[in-house]
Amino acid sequence: MGIETEYGVSVPGHPHVNAMLTSSQVVSAYAHAVAQGRQTAMRWDYDEETPLRDARGFDLTRAEADPSMLTDDDLGLANLILTNGARLYVDHAHPEYSSPEVTNPWDGMLWDKAGERVMARAAESVPHLPGGREVRLYKNNTDNKGASYGTHENYLMQRSTPFAAIVRHLTPFFVTRQVITGAGRVGIGQDGRGSGFQISQRADYFEVEVGLETTLKRPIINTRDEPHADPDKYRRLHVIVGDANLSELSTYLKLGTTSLVLAMIEDGFLDLDLTLTHPVREMHDVSHDWSLGHELTTVSGRTLTAVQLQIELCEQARKYVEDRYGVDVDSQTADVLDRWETVLDRLLADPMSLSGELDWVTKLSVLQGYRDRDGTDWDDPRLALVDLQYADVEPTRGIAQRLQARGRLTRLTTEEQVAHAVSSPPEDTRAYFRGECVRRYGAEIAAASWDSVIFDIPGRDALQRVPTMEPLRGTRAHVGELLASSPNAADLLAALGA
């Protein structure tokens, strides 16, 4: 699994600056900040079928490249593969961090948090580029004027799981999980003109139940299916309903609870029918009622609140884990279940008690503090600013980070763990091979992607492509020794038999 996040980007005092160019500067600036002489600009390998020769022409080296050249690739935009296995690039008009593939929610949270630090470092470095101005980056999902940008989760699933079962069971889960994963938003409606607070940044931008689109007519269940792995075995479930979270607990539970529900679907365990009569409308209604009193209606005629629906799924997950694993359950799965259950119980008893733990409740209590102190209403632009600045990645300005520093927003990771994740890949997926290759042989890599690394070995005519189609191969256990005993890429390829 993994999370890809498009960050909001702005240049204070220059609202009309070209967003693609600024995003490209952000990516380039990070390359300059961390490169220290190694190659960092490489082409993304879009097409595994393209003959290797065609991949030539993009093999910039750090020594040759000036900042503007670093932005060159086939789309004219910067693209980096980081030593932690992540991809840092420009997607549409936003800098995007796509985390490396991980096997569990805890690691997902950790490498997602690492992305915030990568963005902070990048933003800090932009003014040092020629022509670079001060840049703000926000880990949020809307400008409150009609534009939304995504935080997408990806889950590897078995191809054999019927898609109808995924749609049936995931829809009510996605409509209601925002009570845990919502990042909070000041403003109602896509353009934010409605006055008030709502739970989710993203909810109002969803218009249909199922579909392929991600930029218009956004569907609750997205059918994009590029597995970046063996398509006969795997499907990549591309989840676009999520908010960008600053709270680690929100991110951890987002990945953990979704994984549990997917496991139950894959295993054919869920027979609970929670199909909603009007899922899209309910998604908006749940988000708009932060008292959590809104009742959803199911096709079977039941009415229940979002928290009650989540409790039913959580109880199913508890039964499922007991049934399949019993006492052999791994500690992280048990931890996710316990936290899910506890958070739901507390949301049922007193939602505001989750202030300091979940994003939307924390943000709401700060906003209510302003309203109480200054007697303002929801239209006060300062409240909109608090909403925006909550997500600023810069540590002194970012409100979420200030709250964390004061112990008013819970951390699950340590800063040392995050710093390690900024530079090092997870050890138990193919991201290990990708990240370590970039770290060790960066100057000899022409291109890479989720499912390949392409080497450009001095003295060899053709590029050498190493496919990484199996997400769980290329781990430290698998290739650690091989990499350690290969001083350069030619040695590695010889050892791989290429």
Partner: protein, 70 residues
């Protein structure tokens, strides 16, 4: 009788009152302290945020215009 009864009642109720009076200030001051601490805390948090909020909120928020993504 009535007076005495009434006096007894008064005495009883005074005793209860005294008991309550002995405990009540304690409890209410705890509560007040906790509430004051919470208020101080949120006040401190808001003051901390005030220090770093971008200047001219209205203009800053208006200028934050993004293109759609994804």
């Amino acid at each position: 009788m009535a007076t005495r009864d009434s006096g007894d009642q008064q005495k009883v109720s005074r005793t209860q009152e005294e008991a309550e009076v002995e405990e009540a200030p304690q409890a209410s001051s705890d509560l007040a302290e906790r509430k004051a601490a919470l208020d101080d805390d949120i006040d401190a948090i808001l003051a901390d945020i005030d220090d770093v909020l971008e200047t001219n909120a209205e203009e800053f928020v208006r200028a934050f215009v993004q293109k759609g993504g994804e």
